[in-house]
């Protein structure tokens, strides 16, 4: 309590009575008697709840609770049957046939294969302008349809009968089962979308086929979803209502979790160590499929020069970032783009300079700068645009590293959404991004740097050789060979330095110890339907939460 006393000295209030942390706060959002309500700190307001328009994890977290694709997540994010109870594939791996269960939208209209066909055509339709559409280019004619060169009906998806969906691929893509539980492949209620257009995501019109349905969505306040009684496993769902809050001030949200007002809040990396010390029973950390990198805009006037990109990358002290700035939470320094530990992927070797001592790296970087025409008399000036949610310290540390080779850096902070907007529009020199794999496959990282990826290829990196290798891997049915080709592609890309890799991610979540069915997993996926509370009589399918570590 000494700290509190010091804080008080800053000068507002006179006295504070008992200071014992009051965990059972009366400030929890009111919940109807006999019901279970989950209060979820969700970091930001969704811009959309249309699965074809969402991009952020804070959006997909909500949509995942409402819509179910051909496959689904279990409590740990593994593939389990979803709308499809079974599926088979042709010998060449190009045709996948999914057999659907009988299910209804939350307004009672049956879900049919046509809803899937409609949804896939919609996301690929250029009129929809879905940014994630490129994820589905492995479907036959996907790219052509999305580019407007073929009508949506040409897409390799059909529904021979209401309970069957058949998808034809351009090339073998074993990860289709992973993607089938991703929002891009979710069905949408055709009858509502056709009737209400953009407004189908209004709470009055949003119908879903999953465990929850949309009840309210008030900007800046919260999104509320409630149990969908028509969901086929509704009887196993314990949580009756979930509120998602745009907790943009993480400090405040963390306090709310600890006071019992919220049940969950993702932790910023620089807060993990502190919360581990203060509230170990709340903190969950786990490795996950994510990296943190600074995209370098290869289209910008200065960073067009690969020598500059290399120089800037070499001198960043990753170890200081991953160990000291992150306060020893178990982060791993990154010199590659794809995190280690992805199935069937031989990670390529780190660049040669990674093993050099810092002095040598700096020397080499200065040489590269001089070669590009920069030096003490004509210092390189660089601007970093960072996300406000991120750790300021990371950028300042990078700035410090760069100052040692005579680079002058300006850091600009923008609100998360806005920062991403800068990145997507190419309105930046150095960005600040992280990527969380959509599915457990190296392609899920590597496609970001494909020249055809569009807005998500923030740095507008384009190397025909890299593109060619990725395309080659796509047509390689043999998993091991495919992995090798991809690793080769990564090496090509890393030589061009379109990004400065900083560290591989772990996540930290602050989770109420009351919550059950919360499972730590590599994809940081936590569906509400597996959860319940310790003191509730309803036992959910998720069982106990994983222990904190």
């Amino acid at each position: 309590m000494k700290r509190l006393a010091i804080l008080l000295a800053v000068g507002l209030m006179g006295s504070v009575a008992g200071c014992a942390a009051n965990k059972a706060s009366g400030a929890r959002m009111p919940c109807p008697a006999g019901k279970l309500c989950l209060e979820w700190g969700n970091t930001s307001d969704p811009v959309s709840l249309d699965p074809h328009k969402t991009q952020g994890t804070w959006e997909s977290r909500i949509v995942n609770d409402m819509l179910i694709g051909l496959t689904d997540n279990d409590a740990e994010g593994n593939v389990i049957p979803g709308m499809a109870t079974s599926w088979e594939t042709s010998p060449d791996g190009l045709v996948w046939t999914f057999h659907l269960r009988e299910a209804k939208w939350s307004d009672g209209v049956p879900v049919t294969g046509e809803d899937f066909v409609y949804a896939l055509r919609r996301i690929m339709d250029p009129k929809t302008a879905a940014e994630y559409a490129s994820l589905l280019y492995f479907i036959k004619n996907g790219e052509e349809v999305n580019a407007g060169d073929a009508p949506p009906t040409a897409l390799g998806v059909e529904s021979p009968d209401p309970r069957t969906v058949r998808i034809t691929l351009k090339h073998p893509a074993p990860y289709i089962l992973q993607l089938a539980k991703h929002q891009t492949m979710y069905p949408v209620p055709r009858h509502m979308v056709e009737k209400y257009g953009d407004k189908w995501t209004d709470p009055e019109h949003y119908v879903s086929n999953g465990p929850y349905k949309l009840v309210a969505w008030k900007l800046g306040d919260k999104v509320t979803i409630e149990k969908n009684p028509l969901y086929w496993e509704a009887s196993t769902v314990c949580i009756d209502r979930v509120n998602f809050y745009p907790t943009e001030d993480p400090g405040s949200a963390e306090r709310q979790v600890r006071s019992g007002e919220l049940d969950y809040q993702g932790l910023r990396l620089n807060r993990i160590a502190y919360q581990k010390r203060e509230a170990p029973e709340y903190v969950h950390t786990h490795i996950y499929l994510g990296n943190a990198y600074l995209p370098l805009n290869t289209g910008s006037a200065k960073l067009r020069d690969p020598r500059l990109r290399k120089a800037l990358s070499m001198v960043v002290d990753r170890d200081f970032l991953s160990h000291d700035v992150m306060l020893g939470i178990g982060m791993e320094s990154a010199y590659n783009f794809v995190p280690p530990g992805i199935a069937g992927y031989p990670n390529p070797p780190e660049p040669e300079w990674a093993a050099w001592p810092m002095e040598r790296r700096q020397q080499e970087a200065r040489r590269l700068l001089a070669e590009a025409g920069y030096g003490p008399k004509n210092p390189l000036e660089i601007e970093i645009k960072q996300r406000s949610m991120d750790v300021t310290a990371t950028q300042a540390s990078v700035q410090n590293d760069w100052s040692k080779i005579g680079v002058k850096t300006t850091i600009i902070t923008a609100e998360t959404q806005i920062a991403y907007q800068y990145y997507r529009t190419g309105d930046f020199e150095v960005g600040d991004a992280g990527w969380i794999a959509d599915y457990n496959d190296p392609m899920s990282f590597l496609y970001l740097m494909h020249s055809k990826t569009g807005a998500m290829n923030y740095g507008k990196y384009a190397n025909p050789e890299y593109d060619r290798l990725l395309d080659l891997a796509d047509n390689e049915p043999h998993p091991k060979k495919r992995g090798e080709i991809l690793a080769q592609a990564e090496t090509v890309m890393m030589n061009d330095n379109p990004a400065i890799n900083l560290y591989f991610q772990i996540y930290g979540n602050l989770v109420s110890p009351r919550l059950t069915g919360y499972k730590d997993n590599i994809s940081d996926t936590h569906p509400s339907r597996f959860m319940s509370f310790k003191d509730a009589s309803c036992k959910a399918a998720g069982g106990d939460s994983t222990p904190t570590r």
Binding site: G11, G18, A27, A129, G148, A253, I418, Q421
Partner: protein, 306 residues
């Protein structure tokens, strides 16, 4: 009086018109657009999007279209939150902002006037310094410090109040109101003190004193009303300001208020939403200034409405 109001309303129309014009062209002159994310998309998609929002037309035509829509009260759909009407977004946000803002304004008036009177009555003596110091402290610590500190004390440690959101009814509003009240006190106290001193030195108060009336009677019966007249000039724009919300308080307490929505909309170039909020705040300012002038005239016979 009626003539005055009519005249002011007539002047207000061109003012609003100019505000709309200035804001429209400033907003459009700023780089970026609500859809610039899609720069990498195939050109025909961009064409479709442009057509949908008429970005393909000359700016002056878009301006004309916007004016004609606004003239009939159509502020259009948000360009960012697809499928949402701008008016609906504002309608959802205003009550929260107004409730908190007006309560804070009311509280700061009471405290500020009180401190101002004390300071004026004990001019340049200890009570004056004391009251002025209390009033000024509120404005010397930024709201984004007082907010988290109060939360730490009253929510995290004592558990009396919620830390954020509007879920807990009246309790949710306590801390935001305090945080908004503190910095507003100083200005009000300062105004009250100055005008109170002036009134207390005026002839009619001296006469009242000479008649042997007690101190408090003089202050509250005779001096208070004229002393508060200048405050009206402050109150007009202040009222308009609080209804349109505070970015900081919205952010700190996760309130669904207009302040944060406006800021985000501006950054995202949600043209329609920004314009609607700009128009709303301009109208509010004009209206409340008019009301303030009327109130001044009613309170002080010396003020003439021209």
């Amino acid at each position: 009086m009626l003539r005055f109001i009519l005249r002011r309303l007539l002047v207000a129309i061109p003012t609003i018109f100019v505000v709309i014009t200035v804001a429209f062209f400033m907003m459009r002159a700023a780089p970026g657009s609500p859809y610039s994310i899609q720069r990498k998309l195939p050109p025909e998609i961009e064409e479709n999007l442009k057509k949908k929002y008429h970005f393909d037309e000359p700016l002056i035509v878009q301006y004309g279209r916007y004016l004609s829509q606004v003239a009939v009260g159509d502020f259009g759909p948000s360009m960012k939150y697809e499928g949402r009407e701008v008016v609906d977004i504002i309608k959802q946000a205003v009550p929260t902002s107004a409730k908190i803002g007006l309560t804070a304004l009311f509280l700061s008036l009471i405290i500020g006037i009180g401190l101002g009177i004390i300071a004026a009555l004990r001019q340049n003596r200890f009570a004056d310094y004391f009251a002025s110091t209390i009033a000024v402290i509120g404005v010397c610590v930024p709201t984004f410090v007082t907010g988290p500190l109060l939360v730490l004390i009253f929510a995290t440690n004592l558990g009396w109040l919620p830390t954020a959101g509007i879920g807990a009814g009246l309790k949710s509003f306590v801390l935001p109101v305090i945080v908004l009240t503190l910095p507003a006190i100083a200005g009000i106290a300062r105004l009250t003190r100055a005008s109170m001193i002036e009134v207390l030195n005026s002839n009619f108060i001296r006469t009242a004193r000479a008649k042997g009336l007690s101190g408090s009677t003089v202050v509250f019966r005779h001096a208070l009303k004229p002393a508060l007249v200048p405050l009206m000039g402050y109150l007009g724009p202040a009222t308009a300001g609080v209804i349109t919300g505070s970015l900081i308080v919205d952010k700190l307490f996760r309130l669904p208020g207009l302040g944060k929505i406006f800021f985000t909309a501006g950054i995202q170039r949600d043209y329609t939403l920004v314009m609607a909020i700009v128009i709303l705040s301009a109208v509010l300012i004009l209206v409340f200034n008019l009301l303030a002038d009327i109130a001044q005239a009613l309170m002080d016979p010396r003020v003439r409405l021209t």
